[in-house]
Symmetry: C2
Subunit: 606 residues, 2 copies
């Protein structure tokens, strides 16, 4: 049986009822994708993820990727699954037909990729990274470069990586020492060492195209001097056949806490002979180009959190319904009941549900904005979506992954001793998902991006735009029967958020360190509010649906047990109420802590 | 170099300045232990932990314990280290000289065992479990049983285990099916299967004595019908030599997320022939007897959290001082600085310090109460300590281990990508420490113990006693210069705690499920307050120490850098201020959430 229990109903709710993805078909370029077609693709993708991708997850963890005599060996089942994934068109799904892609809306790809990540995060990384690298070449490369690589990367014949980190330059990418020396034919000789390169090689790749940040000799220090190069493992012949070895060597792989099936490589360029690289885009513009791709990479990373949080919630839920332990709370003399009857277990499950489904909605909304930015016909609408997206991305990345770790931890607790054992999948989820808080910019870096960059972008207009949107929703929410506690908590949280934003902006002007001390709590508060709003929107929809279906927005347990649709909508209302009471209620107190000016962490000489 | 960086200074502060362990020497039975002697034992123990115990931690994780053809093989270095641990008297340290122990105060043993757990949790479990099992026989066994086993267990010649869990009976121990059939000679034939038995066997044990909960045929269902039996792997001959095999078979070991060096065993009794067991204590009283030992077992478990949290904090601190990344916040054009200069990293470190040192103080205080209960001359004082201990224990166990997981997680984040790799010890800390939230009663069970049992014990007198003690401290704290924010936050938190306790007690009478829904948040709030108080007490002491040493309780960074003692005390004040602003400040909001009567988790049919 597959370890992946995937909640298709929640995604269909997002597509049809919450985000109204049928709107996408009105965009030029997406006319082929009416809602039925999107759902059909989604259904097929989820089926493949549950039946096939999930089947390699255990081997991925137990065997891991291995570097044997310099050759990469991925876990049992990966090569076959790679071939099937290519054949199904999943590697190329989001890309333009010009390069062999299906041109699917990102919103649908995002939904399918959640299932893939839930099935096997380490496997899914291979094609998500390849896709990102290919997209960089498509966006900034010369026609010749595009012709050589892009379609073959999207199709999964070639792999791709992003090579940023060096041993002395982790989060501080600008310190990179890898060098590029111009050669006579417009190419460059690349020399240097990169580390932490995910998916650096695989036996199922015919070639690997590394996107390498390097400094052309003589160019300025820091990030401004970095250029982007496409560096294939094997050079390409003029006829498109794979040519000579390009002296790109995987010198080692890391032994990690999780995602063992994804080789985290140390790669040397030019150590045993010349390594040729091709400039991608504008010299000195490497970081800026990478940043243009960063939004999608970071949403993809947040989606890994969403995927494992939801997988963990579903596993814990199924276990809690099955496992009998202890008498019911009403009668200690009665026989043992399923642990889902115990209030403490229900609290854990509700916590998991609210965060797992709430961050899923957040990632889905971000994906929707990506579609608008790429396909929207109206320039003003595109700009609004770009602004919304820029503000959301650090939250999608950091909040979703940090909360996913919490959710996976609770799944382990619900399983008790079994949760700590490899026999059940939840301990692997917990280990695997931790990486998502670290790579693509640690969550601390995301918080600094939010506070130091996104909040200041366009003079604060991104944040103001969000607050206005929220205000509009709050006005509507105020009149929804039964959701008054949610409205009250969200409105207060909105006030707290504004208060903190004001304090941060005035404090940053005089004491930058004091303001930056609150970067992480501020990101969390914004995440609380964004997720709180999305859960409230879902509760609003569910209220109407329930009233239509059974005449009340508060169906009894019996009514819910008799009708899965009634239970589904009741769950949406429950999650919003729970989240308001558990999380949003804390916003004023969080604001108080953030704006107190407490400086202990700065004034102690550790 | 040892992975364990152990903060002896903080423990000496606890011993001499905070808890005043010199008081222990006034107790009958502890007259030999003046403070200098205790410190000498502590120094020796820490040295052994850092130099020797820590040396097996990597092998413990990578090799794990292995069951090969039915024989247990522990990781490389364990057998030699076991011999050294025995020779050093560490296995018998807390026990009475009557059975070969050193009769050390538990307070000192606790401090040393923190270092042992920090060095290698999986190894330390072997003798902590053996010690607990031996103590049960010492407390309840017949003279003959004691003579056979106790000294040989305390000395580490024999191992010991606690066998409670069965496949169908995890947290619900009363469902155990293992049976005991009376034999002619006052012994019993034991039949059944136990799982999750930590340290179930080792090649360095000459014999293993399992303390097994089983039901004598015909005795009542549930926990009331369970009796405790000592069941040796090999029977003992009359002359004290080891006799015939007793048909106690380790049938398998779990593959786990962490503590791999500690074999988690499935054990069958009586499957291949008769297994003889000896009744320990009173028939039908097995659970009650186990519960009398539970406090120390749960403190020991909490101490594992304390140990790994502190080890993780020290590792992250050392790394943050060493690792250069990114320019300082004052000048983005300057060269990279050590990451400890970045505000977000300082926040993480301060968070870690406050929880790691705060829960250490909590465990130390609990250990002090154990000493009073065992050795105190005055009956009223003993009773007060017993009451304080009973209330604290679920908090020591659950709060310390849950926060330890947070602290270890942050250590991984501080290390960035390296934190996810096995090259550094923090990812192992994170995996190892998770078990402490699960075994010895999951943290959910602890919360129910606190709310359903401890809060009601003696008509609520335990809690009232604690609140009175806190009120006395608050009065003193109110006049300490510079700690007004701590006083204010702690006083408000005290009010919130009282409010919630009142609400819970009146709610439980009419709606038990609604009250129990708040068991976990209530335990957390009590933990916040207890730890907040201890950190405030430390800040009070530090204020006086700093005023005496440098005339101000707010020394500059330069003053701190010039004098490690000044820095130490400044750190105590910083931790209290930080904790008040980050954690205690949230108490009123937590109280509001808990007492709102929100029932979403109960009313949704998952």
């Amino acid at each position: 049986m597959s370890h992946l229990i995937f909640d298709k109903r929640d995604w269909k709710f997002l597509m049809r009822e919450h985000l109204h993805l049928e709107r996408l078909a009105s965009f030029p370029g997406l006319a082929d994708y009416d809602i039925e077609t999107m759902e059909a693709v989604f259904d097929e993708g989820v089926k493949f993820a549950v039946e096939r991708v999930a089947s390699v997850n255990e081997a991925s963890d137990r065997e891991g990727a291995q570097l044997i005599a310099g050759e990469m060996k991925t876990p049992t089942g990966f090569p076959e699954l790679w071939a099937e994934t290519r054949a199904g068109g999943w590697t190329a799904a989001p890309h333009t037909p010009e390069f062999g892609g299906q041109g699917l809306p990102y919103s649908v790809v995002n939904a399918v990729y959640e299932a893939f990540n839930g099935g096997c995060q380490a496997f899914t990384m291979f094609f998500q990274l390849t896709s990102g690298a290919g997209h960089l070449i498509e966006s900034f490369g010369t026609d010749a470069l595009k012709a050589s690589f892009v379609e073959r990367m999207y199709s999964g014949e070639f792999g791709g990586t992003m090579c940023l980190t060096e041993p002395q330059a982790g989060s501080a990418v600008g310190d990179a020492r890898t060098s590029a020396t111009p050669l006579d034919d417009d190419t460059y000789a690349i020399e240097g060492n990169k580390i932490f390169i995910s998916g650096g090689d695989a036996e199922f790749y015919a070639n690997v195209v590394h996107l390498v940040l390097a400094r052309v000799k003589g160019d300025p220090e820091g990030t401004r001097g970095l250029s982007l190069f496409a560096v294939p493992k094997h050079k390409m012949n003029a006829d498109g056949s794979i040519g000579a070895y390009n002296n790109v060597q995987v010198t080692g792989i890391e032994h990690k806490m999780g995602i063992n099936g994804s080789p985290t490589c140390a790669i040397s360029f030019g150590a045993d002979g010349q390594t040729v690289g091709y400039l991608v885009g504008v010299r000195g513009n490497g970081m800026a180009q990478m940043f243009q791709m960063m939004n999608e990479a970071r949403i993809a990373c947040g989606l890994q959190g969403v995927a494992l949080a939801n997988a963990a919630y579903q596993q814990a839920l199924a276990y809690a319904k099955d496992r009998k332990q202890g008498p019911p709370i009403e009668d200690f003399a009665a026989p043992s009941v399923a642990i889902i009857r115990h209030p403490d277990v229900r609290r854990n499950l509700m916590f998991m549900k609210a965060y797992a489904e709430g961050t899923r909605a957040l990632a889905a909304k971000a994906a929707y904005h990506v579609d608008v930015v790429v396909h929207g016909a109206d320039a003003a609408e595109r700009e609004r979506s770009q602004d919304a997206l820029d503000l959301m991305v650090p939250v999608v990345k950091a909040y979703s992954t940090d909360k996913a770790f919490r959710v996976c931890e609770l799944a382990v607790q619900v399983f008790g001793g079994y949760g700590y054992c490899r026999e059940y999948p939840v301990e692997q989820y917990l280990r695997d998902v931790k990486i998502a808080s670290i790579y693509e910019g640690t969550n601390g870096i995301q918080a600094m991006d939010l506070l130091g960059r996104k909040m200041r972008q366009k003079g604060g207009a991104l944040f103001m735009g969000y607050v206005q949107e929220l205000a509009g929703f709050l006005e509507r929410l105020s009149s929804i029967e039964g959701l008054a506690p949610v409205h009250k908590a969200l409105a207060k949280a909105q006030g707290s958020l504004g208060e903190v934003a004001f304090w941060l902006s005035s404090t940053a002007a005089k004491d930058r360190a004091l303001a930056m001390l609150q970067a992480t709590p501020f990101l969390e508060l914004l995440g609380d509010v964004m997720v709180g709003q999305l859960l409230a929107e879902q509760a609003e929809i569910a209220t109407a649906a329930l009233q239509a279906r059974c005449g009340t927005a508060r169906p009894t347990l019996e009514q819910q047990e008799a009708d899965a649709e009634v239970a589904f909508y009741a769950g949406k209302i429950a999650a919003a109420l729970f989240f308001a009471n558990e999380v949003l209620i804390a916003a004023p107190s969080k604001a108080k802590a953030m704006t107190s000016g407490e400086t202990a962490a700065l004034n102690y000489a550790f």
